[in-house]
């Protein structure tokens, strides 16, 4: 029989330390929905999603009840819509966003990702029109998430796309200014975007994936923090890393179990478990608080990058043995507005955008859910995207930018989203104009790291 202490440990993790499965995401390929007629294409897309995911929410809820594990989100990711919309040659590409939103609402899922384009090396037919339509699509839908991949280690950075995305991010915030600029919170700009990521807003279903697939994202910053709080006093860093590894192993095993079970019940292949520590604004579910538990007075002080590097690495090492297939973003997330500790550190001035940028060199994603002043220029947004993409390109890792220009607000004000998106203090950006650099356009050549063959 199982040990009493193990059973009680699991119950305690769920009841008191916010252990949960953050998302079951079904990836659905829309490559068999292409049509020159946009009406027909939208019908095919709708039918395919409804058919493939009809039991997703119910299955998630059944597993949640039987296993006693909270499963917070049930989501869908689809083939980047720029590819699906390309044959239509239509300027009304936003109709695909309405179609995705309608399917998401009828199925009862929390989000649907894949209103996306992959333009790391250049724009193909359909890409330009899709990117142009993003502000309208995110403003006129509720559940659709969008992402654009503008760089990769293999391709370099498409600076024309970087320039364009600065404007698109700003427009998306402006068009949703009456709703706390929420549109920009549903838009991610990637370098080295993973094709099997279950987390929003950046999830899409890559073209190399199976027709349908189940990917699971775990969570559990609260569990890691509690383990360090309970047993970490007086321990050296090696022992701290081991503690994180052991905890990550347990969290991931739970994710693997849920993924396998969901895959079996839905008759859909199991894709990957994403080993991410995804914080929420809830008390006790913060990545920043783990770093502080390691001995930093406040997240953002010197030492933060080292502590985050240790955490990110230990999470992967612990998780990788617990799952048969690992993928997605896998690491620690540092979304400012979604993390109670980050919000506090940003408010008190200990955490600024430059420190966050250096942290993104060692964490799993990038500058995530950062609220910036509404009068930021499109070129400055583009330059932040370019900086972040450069970190990803050179280090052969995923980086992403999800900035929210807070229209009408200045540094020091707050922007409240509510729910899992939390609230964020408006953070100042650096002075000086990068306009001439950004307006050059062109492509940053792929770095030597790309030449591995």
């Amino acid at each position: 029989m199982l040990e009493t202490k193990d059973i009680l440990e699991t119950i305690n993790m769920i009841d008191n330390e916010n252990l949960d499965v953050r998302t079951i995401t079904m990836g659905i390929s829309l490559l068999d929905c292409l049509d020159e007629d946009i009406d027909k294409a939208c019908v095919k897309v709708y039918d395919k999603i409804m058919r493939s995911a009809k039991d997703l929410v119910k299955t998630g809820e059944d597993i949640e009840r039987e296993y006693g594990i909270p499963i917070i989100n049930k989501r869908i990711s689809v083939t980047p819509i720029a590819m699906v919309s390309a044959p239509c040659q239509s300027k009304k590409v936003v109709r695909f966003a309405y179609t995705l939103d309608k399917a998401a609402k009828e199925l009862g899922v929390n989000f649907i990702g894949g209103y996306s384009a992959l333009v790391q090396k250049g724009f193909a037919s359909g890409d330009y029109a899709l990117i142009e339509s993003i502000p309208q699509a995110l403003s006129e839908t509720d559940f659709v998430c969008s992402s654009v991949n503008i760089g990769s280690t293999k391709a370099g950075i498409n600076m024309d796309a970087v320039k364009m995305m600065g404007k698109i991010v700003k427009q998306t915030a402006e068009i949703t200014a009456d709703r706390n600029c929420i549109g920009a919170a549903k838009l991610v700009v990637f370098c080295n975007a993973p094709e099997d990521n279950p987390f929003m807003a950046g999830a899409f279903h890559g073209v190399g994936e199976a027709d349908t697939v189940i990917n699971v994202g775990v969570s559990g910053p609260g569990v890691v923090r509690a383990a360090l709080a309970k047993n970490g006093a007086g321990k050296d860093i090696t022992e701290i890393a081991d503690m994180v590894k052991k905890t990550a192993f347990k969290i991931t095993r739970m994710g693997q179990l849920v993924a396998k079970e969901a895959s079996k019940r839905l008759c859909v292949p199991f894709g990957i478990v994403d080993l991410s520590l995804a914080p929420t604004p809830a008390v006790g579910d913060s990545v920043a608080h783990i770093l502080e538990e390691m001995g930093l007075e406040v997240c953002g002080c010197h030492g933060t990058t080292a502590a985050l590097a240790l955490l990110n690495d230990a999470v992967k090492k612990g998780g990788v043995m617990a799952s048969s297939h690992v993928g997605g973003l896998s690491g620690a997330f540092i979304p400012v507005s979604e993390d109670a500790g980050m919000i506090a550190a940003a408010k008190s001035g200990h955490l600024d955008i430059t420190k966050l940028e250096s942290m993104t060199a060692v964490c799993s994603v990038g500058l995530d859910m950062i609220v910036v002043p509404g009068d930021i220029t499109a070129e400055t947004i583009s330059a932040i995207i370019a900086d972040e993409a450069a970190i990803g390109m050179v280090n052969t890792k995923t980086t992403a930018v999800r900035l929210i220009p807070a229209v009408g607000r200045q540094a020091g004000d707050m922007l409240e989203f509510g729910g899992l998106l939390g609230s964020g203090p408006v953070m100042p950006v650096r002075a000086g104009s990068p306009a001439v650099f950004i307006n050059r356009g062109g492509r940053i050549p792929a770095p030597l790291q790309a030449l591995k063959n």
Binding site: D6, I7, I11, Y67, M254
Partner: protein, 89 residues
């Protein structure tokens, strides 16, 4: 399918009887029981067989929740595999 029932709370008379009563009226076989009392906190863990249960999983959980409310304890019922996968390699 085997499930684990955990009962945590302040020790009072009749907790074991009430939980076993709920199991027996649902035709749930109790395979193993361990319990410990630390100071006055009571923790009981039951391994049960629910394949032949006369009620569905949700109904069983609700009847156990009701026992929890009556005895002022917190009762969980969860699939055994969740513990096996987290704590055994």
């Amino acid at each position: 399918m085997k499930a684990i029932i955990t009962v945590i709370g302040k020790d009072t008379v009749g907790i074991l009887a009430k939980v076993s009563g709920a199991c027996s009226s649902a035709n749930v076989n109790i395979v193993e029981v361990t319990q410990s009392v630390l100071q006055d906190m009571f923790a009981m863990i039951m391994l049960v067989e629910i394949d032949k249960a006369s009620v569905g999983f949700d109904e069983l959980r609700e009847s156990l929740n009701k026992v929890g409310e009556d005895t002022n304890t917190k009762i969980h019922i969860m699939h055994e595999d969740i513990f096996n996968s987290m704590h055994k390699i």
